[in-house]
Symmetry: D2
Subunit: 306 residues, 4 copies
Amino acid sequence: MGKQVFKGIIPPMITPLSDIDKLDVAGLERLVEHILAGGVHGLFILGTTGEAQSLSYALRQELIERVCRQVAGRVPVLVGITDTSLTESLTLAEKACQCGAAAVVSAAPYYYAPAQAELVDFYSALADRLPLPMFLYNMPSHVKVMMEPDTVEAIARHPNVIGLKDSSANLVYYHTLIQRMKKRPDFSLLMGPEELTGESVLMGGHGGVNGGANMFPRLYVDMYEAAASADIPRLRKLQERIMAISTTVYKVGRYGSSYLKGVKCTCSLLGICSDEMALPYRKFNAPEREKLRRILESLEVEVVNP
Amino acid sequence: MGKQVFKGIIPPMITPLSDIDKLDVAGLERLVEHILAGGVHGLFILGTTGEAQSLSYALRQELIERVCRQVAGRVPVLVGITDTSLTESLTLAEKACQCGAAAVVSAAPYYYAPAQAELVDFYSALADRLPLPMFLYNMPSHVKVMMEPDTVEAIARHPNVIGLKDSSANLVYYHTLIQRMKKRPDFSLLMGPEELTGESVLMGGHGGVNGGANMFPRLYVDMYEAAASADIPRLRKLQERIMAISTTVYKVGRYGSSYLKGVKCTCSLLGICSDEMALPYRKFNAPEREKLRRILESLEVEVVNP
Amino acid sequence: MGKQVFKGIIPPMITPLSDIDKLDVAGLERLVEHILAGGVHGLFILGTTGEAQSLSYALRQELIERVCRQVAGRVPVLVGITDTSLTESLTLAEKACQCGAAAVVSAAPYYYAPAQAELVDFYSALADRLPLPMFLYNMPSHVKVMMEPDTVEAIARHPNVIGLKDSSANLVYYHTLIQRMKKRPDFSLLMGPEELTGESVLMGGHGGVNGGANMFPRLYVDMYEAAASADIPRLRKLQERIMAISTTVYKVGRYGSSYLKGVKCTCSLLGICSDEMALPYRKFNAPEREKLRRILESLEVEVVNP
Amino acid sequence: MGKQVFKGIIPPMITPLSDIDKLDVAGLERLVEHILAGGVHGLFILGTTGEAQSLSYALRQELIERVCRQVAGRVPVLVGITDTSLTESLTLAEKACQCGAAAVVSAAPYYYAPAQAELVDFYSALADRLPLPMFLYNMPSHVKVMMEPDTVEAIARHPNVIGLKDSSANLVYYHTLIQRMKKRPDFSLLMGPEELTGESVLMGGHGGVNGGANMFPRLYVDMYEAAASADIPRLRKLQERIMAISTTVYKVGRYGSSYLKGVKCTCSLLGICSDEMALPYRKFNAPEREKLRRILESLEVEVVNP
């Protein structure tokens, strides 16, 4: 498969579970259709929002297979292969390739905190062996290191490296990458936080990998289109809606897991899929679920599974 | 003095020094005129870029007096009073008031890392005693704590609190503040990093406290105006220039002090003022200065004092 | 297998590799005999020093099998099962049980940074399903969270939880655990850093999981015995030797990986096994190896494979 | 004053206040006598435990004067001059010298996070200008940087630099310093955390700057003497008492300020001085005070001012 510039909204799909390490198959099928119906430009499975690291490899393989088969080329599928072991990353990538995925995505190996030169070593060895093009994934809060601009530039020289997803929420960094990758028009810069996708697209980014699009895919697609066409009044209006979600739906629980639990529980309240979670997380308890239901009501979202 | 909504570009002025704790008086006078000639909307002295914490109180008082006298009401002057001691903060605020400053700016006390409730205690006690309105200053990299949105909202209930400058570079945070302070149209949200001011103004912020405006005040004022009027093509062009500066001028030295040394040495190369610094920093050595000179040349900036 | 209080020196074994994901089988056999000949009280495989996270699961399983077979009950074998997926942890634990290991060791799941309550959830679920007793492993630099004393106490109520290895290097924390676990005389507190094992045993700890014992097992066993018998003059002398190693052998390379590369390259210089490493690490280059050789010479260690 | 090797227990005195920036003079006098009566080897004022950074300079000067006059040479007085401004540090040092203090103590300038080379620049300039010998103070949690062993060694070449107080709680670091400063028998290494003073003295350190000695000076002096004479059974018994205090008295409040509030409130319960605090801290509320009273009761400490 040749390179292509990935643009638009590519939701990082949650993984519907019926138990701590078992897929909710019916829910998964509904979720994929729900997201695609929103007009998204791709689908990213097994990312941070997909709880990939908490799932067994058998489940990850099953998910790759099911999603690729269901999507059936309607949009490109990106598959997270982030791992601390090169071999396990490659096994996931082989599976993704066999199933027809368009690209893989890899954050840095996340147990040891590698030095920048060690990141270059790791990613170069990985890119050399991959059967698919790769997105880098900058995720300092989880992997403990920022992928510095010099490092990105060094790794991006490899022909298999086609883009970067940035979840640092640091836009000085993002603008620096835009500036430095201008000479590489085929290199795709995607924004993790949905709160920042609009302005990042306006200022030269290519799109967003936005968790909220699990729940409300059309909203984020509309926002992307408003930004891509520099329709500022419309962008501001959509941004206000996006912030209303961000400051309420993602703030129900305590701890850093609030965002993920908020997305998953909302999908359950919308009747799409189960909100079971893989350990170390647990789904919202009844009072939290009820609190979220009332938030959705106040946002005028119809809840079918209270 | 009543409340006013501060908008536009309010440069955080460097402090020209002729020795480690002595003002470069002639340089200071030239610098103030150079900045004001750029059409800025205010002037902020004794901030992080002003090396305030490294200067003696006597020098800080002298600086307040000189700058307020020279500016003479042409633009509002904001004075940094950030301190770990409430009493010392108040002494600086009294001086600022006597000299005719418009407002004061205070980051959190920065030795102990206060809990959020302790921030509320500190700022409430400060606001109660201040003779001037106050800006909060969120600066987690230096004070070790993020001023959380709930905390900002609690403190902002005090009538003396009129705005916040955010230097976290985290725009998810900034958008959250915009969202939560919508009900307070008199509350001013200013952006620290110049790389993010354009988009933040576009999305609802009020302006920027941008260090680059020491060197090139007109550039940042133009950027602000393009953003405030949603002139996207012009904004993109100016942003490109701003990023060209950010990714070169601020990257000459090693360490976190590169940005500050880059601004100060550029002002020296432009013939405005000395680049002496207060300890623990030292000005660029000869090879670093020469490297910066060549960068400015490549940016087509005229160097008069190589 | 019933509970037993683990005491003494239980080296965290390096994993000898002949390629990035292939065992150096002959080197492994020599290494196991070298370590056991030093009189150690146990052997810990697949820990941080064993580069476990960088190795494929197939290799990890092979290693468990080979080491358990070779040790053949001469000392208890502890097996690292640290993983981000409960299922994968359990698969490793099953293998360890089948091969006759004495216990497993698990640091917190290390991608997401779990809250303390989430740690209790994860470890409780794990302990419920384990076929072997478990050591907790506090490793905040790698997993991003400290296992707080309340959390340890809550988890340790499970009968399968028999001890904790602390690699935080924070002895206030360690003393707090000693204090709080006094009521549990069957609970074993082991020290990670070899620089602190002596005094920790003197003050109530049970032993050390010390990487230096790959190279010089007898030295650390002697130190443990001096501490356990409160022979202060002898302990001070041995501590001096231990610090001479720590401040030289572990400081040859740059980056956080210096320690691990120093141990592995020393084992190669001693003629025990290969110093190949798993990515993201690479073995020392020739000048680094030569520098280490000279350090060993100055420490009067005989190098047989320069 | 010539150099001397400082040894033993040198309590970091709390600052008794009657209001947020006013000395409790009678309480201060009682406190000094209470501490000296415990047989301590020195007295350290204006450290972290003394809330120095939260106090006005006028109050700090008054405190230096009063304490030096009252102590009157019975033990050496050490004065904290930690500041972000070299000039202000020197002004405090001048005062300390005039009043007869024995030495000054300085943590790194704590607003900007200096690079290691910048620490050397700052401390060298400071040492050149000081009228008294200086202790370095490693306090990474508050100043954001660890003073690396190479840095300590470089700075310690200055004849005015006579020791280091380490509050990192990282004993690998402390042992590294012991190892590297062995050639400097006149250089004093003091331990901050009281939980670690015993073992650090046993292993080559010179003493402790322990906050608990405000409340119970004799206990920490006894512990020091047991350690210095390698009386292990006695040391273990005293350590148990010290840990019983550490795990209860310092854990009453929430936040990082619990330790400091616990010490100050205990001194108030003991009838020694007021527990007023400088902002951003506030003294314990009534339920917290009562909780602490019950803790002291369970520790069999007589409370005279419940």
